[in-house]
Symmetry: C2
């Protein structure tokens, strides 16, 4: 029995400004309007729909390069619209903010793609424009082509990327939290516009960046945007435990999610944070039917007629930088002679005992492990189990866009609301206030140490410029 | 007598996402709403007003750093809101695009502030979202603090900045014009999403950038946005003559503007372009009255009671990187012992013979040289003179925002429209089509050479990486 004392789940719509995001090939479905992603009206319409359905967030995934070659080149991605085109989500955010009142607007931005001074300014401007509804999904990118678009000959090594991201966040925190003191902006027509003694340069000097400041935007409603992260490696989990307020979990079952959540909460505690400082969102997709049979029939139709399993394999393998394009989808998985993939296969074999797996199963299980198929009531039952496992919210993936959200909001949301699993109305205020009860990061967050840190006369540190020891070109 | 065969003037509203842009101190005026610049609603309201008044463009100036110190530090700028805060104009553009149908949206972006791969993607996304209404004002920045915000110890030298900007534009042109061929995007639900043979990597390798591609956004209505530039130095004029479609001229009289325009058109011809490929916009401000006397009284009230001449001096001197803050406003200009400024003073003395100039005059003449004061009919007479001198449009500066545009559109626009000096309705289509009759850059523009340039198998050039010879860190 579900625990009725727990708060409603957070609902986030997981989208991307592209044609084919997670469920490859389904843009060909007659109901799909994924092709309209260049249109602002299309995204505004979706944002308004989500707000009518009391979703907490629209959440944009993003990439700044192609996935690794598949069958030797990037033909597959172009021909199936697999995350190319990939339009910039950040620049359409203000239109969504203008057309809505409460919906949170989250987007992904990689450390490699923008200098932190410009990024911090962009976020602060948007946070003002939206009344404090902006969230940022911090990623370090793992695509060789993304690095090649920004001057790198190869991917920066995994742990070094997270060190780089730590500094990137430090620069941003200094600008958001430390450059302008509380009360700095006066805007008195008969007096000061701002108080000079409360607007500080930051003089950041680190391995990757040298940034003088001050921040060019006055403190926005949230100052630091709500921070999301999805790191799953040991270094990535440490990073998330230190910085993130929202964390994505991708787990086959609620029980596995519970273990991941508990482990990350413990890591966060080691960083001086409290368990309630972090919210965990499970990535799930839904196939709804008025009966269980109808739902299963629809799911089977998607699997057999619309989902491009070769596209799924390309997406999965390309994200690992491995080319599995020469494998037949019906060949035994044992043929894949790649250590990383064999580790994943062994996990899938344990989770799906029975007939020997073929390559198609690899794509299938990676795509649909977290798919819930059933009536609205059955979906509510399952979501109650996820909530009981400690999950705070759901990142709702789509097969067709916007149809899946229309359907969810029309049929599932009313049931969830009756059962206290989804909010029935919005709380007032910023996104952070809606989710955590405060506009600003609390004092336990690492950004808080920069508050008031730049008072008094300051200049560049005396130490030698640490950028001299940095071999890789950053951001060129 | 004005030539009635010339087309209407282009009208652009010259604004900045800040409190105090050109006319310093006037945000204190009771009618000014400049303080509301953090609000999206404020900018949307202005954009709708401009569209109701058939303005062609809203044009955002921008800086990414403070002006040079004044009286030894940046106190003056903070206390008077002089371009700090300076919010990011690019991220509010989509809201303005959503709320309007025809208005062009131009913003300034400096080469130092963003990597060209990200910038090109941002622009293409916005050009799609706006139906092809985006323009970019290319600047190289001349503020030491701007460079210090991006890792530089000092301003990059003037001509080197333009060389850098040439490469920046080359990267962007390759992405906008060359990466996706015409017809590349198919979006056939029963077939291809895009044609792989028409989506190319660009393999750019230059002194400052190494960029693989492909461009991540399919061709937008204009591909390359409308390009504005305001270079006035010899190197800057060469740059503008080569790249720009819209050029700002800041001239004390129509006759001086005519000379500047003719000189730039000749330079453009030397780059293989035609005179009609460039439009020239004069920066002007207006004080309107129902009688000439009322207009003059209002102008005098602004000068005596609202304009902060010390702020003007700070803005003028800080843009030159010279600190004139220790000069009394009533002191003779001869006291200013700086060669650059003395050159400007000698020009002002010739233009304003009579009593010896004081420091206040320097600020005054630099600010109000292009101010037109009078009745709507008198303003129309003067604008006809500017048009006869070869000026194609006006960049309308404001003293109070949005009031000056409300007043202009209510009182001056109807007179201009009757006299064929301002359009009465919008043409259909993209911004470039409205102004030049075509959606895309013509074949004479340097960007055109990248069309079809990346067909066939390609990879990185064999030559040694030219970035190795580049001493200055770029974009970090």
């Amino acid at each position: 029995m579900s625990n009725p004392d727990r708060p409603p789940l957070i609902f986030s719509a997981f989208v991307m400004n592209t044609t084919s995001h997670i469920y490859q090939g389904t843009w060909r479905h007659p109901d799909a309007r994924n092709l309209e992603h260049n249109s602002l009206e299309y995204w505004v319409e979706l944002a308004k729909l989500l707000e009518a359905g009391t979703f907490d967030l629209i959440f944009f995934a993003d990439v700044v390069g192609l996935y690794g070659d598949y069958r030797g080149d990037y033909r597959k991605y172009v021909e199936t619209g697999l995350q190319i085109p990939a339009n910039d989500p950040a620049v359409i955010a203000s239109a969504l903010a203008y057309a809505t009142e409460h919906l949170g607007i989250a987007f992904t931005s990689a450390v490699v793609q923008e200098h932190p001074f410009s990024f911090a300014r962009k976020i602060s401007t948007l946070d003002h424009a939206s009344g404090g509804r902006i969230a940022w999904n911090v990623v370090t990118s793992y695509l060789k082509n993304a690095f090649a678009n920004f001057g790198y000959d190869d991917i920066v090594a995994h742990d070094a990327r997270y060190d780089w991201a730590d500094e990137y966040l430090d620069v941003a925190y200094k600008l958001w939290e430390g450059s302008w003191d509380e009360g700095a902006l006066v805007q008195d027509k008969a007096g000061l516009h701002a108080d000079f003694d409360k607007v500080h340069k930051i003089h950041h000097l680190g391995r990757n960046y040298k940034v003088e400041g001050p921040h060019l935007v006055a403190p926005s409603p949230q100052r630091t945007p709500l921070i999301f992260q999805a790191g799953s490696s040991p270094r990535g989990q440490q990073f998330a435990a230190r910085h993130a307020e929202g964390i994505f979990v991708s787990s086959p079952t609620p029980e596995v999610a519970r273990q991941q959540i508990e482990a990350t909460r413990q890591l966060a505690a080691a960083h001086g944070r409290s368990p309630e400082d972090l919210k965990f969102l499970a990535g799930l997709s839904f196939v709804v039917g008025s009966t269980e049979e109808e739902a299963r029939r629809r799911a089977a139709d998607l699997d057999e007629n619309w989902i491009d399993w070769d596209g799924h394999l390309a997406h999965f393998a390309g994200s690992l930088g491995i080319d599995l394009g020469h494998h037949d989808l019906d060949a035994p998985v044992g043929e894949i002679n790649v250590e990383t993939v064999q580790g994943i296969i062994r996990g899938l074999e344990r989770a799906h005992p029975g007939r020997p797996l073929v390559v198609r199963d690899l794509a299938r299980f990676m795509a649909s492990a977290n798919r819930i198929v059933g009536t609205p009531e059955q979906i509510a039952d399952r979501l109650a189990e996820w909530r009981d496992a400690g999950v705070d919210g759901v990142n709702v993936m789509n097969v067709v866009r916007p149809g899946d959200y229309e359907e969810f909001i029309e049929h599932v949301t009313p049931v969830l609301q009756r059962r206290g699993l989804q909010r029935t109305e919005y709380a007032e205020g910023t996104l952070r206030r809606k989710l955590f009860g405060t506009d600003r990061l609390n004092d336990r967050h690492p950004a808080a140490r920069y508050r008031g840190a730049f008072n008094g006369p300051r200049s560049w540190p005396e130490a030698a410029d640490p950028r001299a020891v940095e071999a890789a070109p950053v951001g060129r």
